[in-house]
């Protein structure tokens, strides 16, 4: 497990090993830690704009001792075979899940709620998406404990823009056929703990019926 301070120190160290400035977007637990929803994680999820940037980042973490490993056992079979699957690198308990452009077909928006610059030999810029996008991506990656994390966000934040989440999911339906189903499933579970208007569920069903 890696806590917030150690994560920041790790990124600072990585910036010392980069051959070029790299920009990426943190999602998942890493983003939650930057936003203060969580204090520790086992995996660091990042999305790069292109294969080249991911390659530069991989070279840097390999110098620190991270080695590539298989994604089998972490994601279910349909995600294991998806072309938008990540490359995984681990060192002991910590793990990097590195995606390019999309997360299992779900494209990352350009919106940014936070930017973190790690200035070393080169600069590592890590952007953080709005919380609504994080919720949707958690619904899509569907790993153990993703539901707990979604609950952690909605419990802390009084206002969630469900319209944004549903619209975003609907826009990604062509790239990721199960996205609306996964989102609806998570929202049904959340309904037991907080009020989510029926109109958002209707919007999901309407979007799904159009395909």
């Amino acid at each position: 497990m890696i806590n917030t301070e150690d994560q920041e120190a790790l990124f600072k160290l990585i910036s010392e090993y980069l051959e070029k400035d790299v920009e990426c977007t943190a999602i998942g637990d890493t983003a939650m830690m930057f936003l203060g929803y969580k204090t520790a994680t086992k995996d660091i999820d990042m999305v790069f704009q292109n294969e080249k940037d991911r390659g530069i980042f991989i070279k840097a973490i390999e110098k620190i001792g991270y080695k590539e490993r298989s994604i089998r056992g972490v994601y279910d079979k349909k995600r294991e075979q998806h072309k938008g699957k990540p490359k995984m690198f681990s060192r002991g308990e910590e793990r990097f899940d590195l995606f390019v452009k999309n997360v299992f077909g779900v494209e990352i928006t350009k919106d940014m709620t936070q930017r973190n610059d790690f200035i070393g030999k080169k600069t590592l810029i890590i952007k953080i998406l709005p919380k609504e996008d994080l919720i949707l991506l958690k619904a899509v990656t569907n790993r153990e404990k993703d539901m707990e994390d979604i609950e952690a966000i909605v419990e802390k934040e009084k206002s969630i823009d469900w319209n944004r989440i549903v619209d975003y999911a609907a826009s990604q339906r062509n790239n990721s056929p199960w996205i609306l189903h996964d989102l609806e499933e998570k929202m049904q579970l959340l309904k037991k703990k907080l009020f989510i208007k029926k109109e958002f569920f209707d919007k999901i069903y309407e979007a799904e019926s159009m395909h």
């Binding site: 600072k12 929803y37 200035i119």
Partner: protein
Amino acid sequence: MERIFTLEKFAEEKGLAKQSALNLLSKMKKQNLVHTSGGAKQKRLYKVFDWPQRQTNGFYDIINRYSPEKLVPKFQHYAYGRYNIENAIIDGLKLGDIRTKEATMHLFRHVKNWKVLFELAEKEKLKKELITLHNEARKIMRVKKMPERYK
């Protein structure tokens, strides 16, 4: 969620004496649960958060410290490592909207290292834009002159 208090109001809310409230606020500040503003001539205000929020120290902090034209942050910006006026000028150019550029102009008055500024501009391919912005700034305010060798 965040709430803003004066020391007196915080002490009243928590049912504490003033010094006890100060001690508690100090502890909470170390946990990033409190941000302060004001002090000295201005009444000190305490922004209290439900969960830890780091204090930003990036582009918008620099702009709002040095520029009379303040900007509302479009995002929280944190910098780990040296992030100076020169870095902020380049980021201002990259953000590109009119308000941001106007605020960025004021940073030219505080440039310490033109060499670093131009190296950053070269790296980001913004040398022309930098010179243009500086020339515009010189028309409307007193700013440091750019060394000839960089023009």
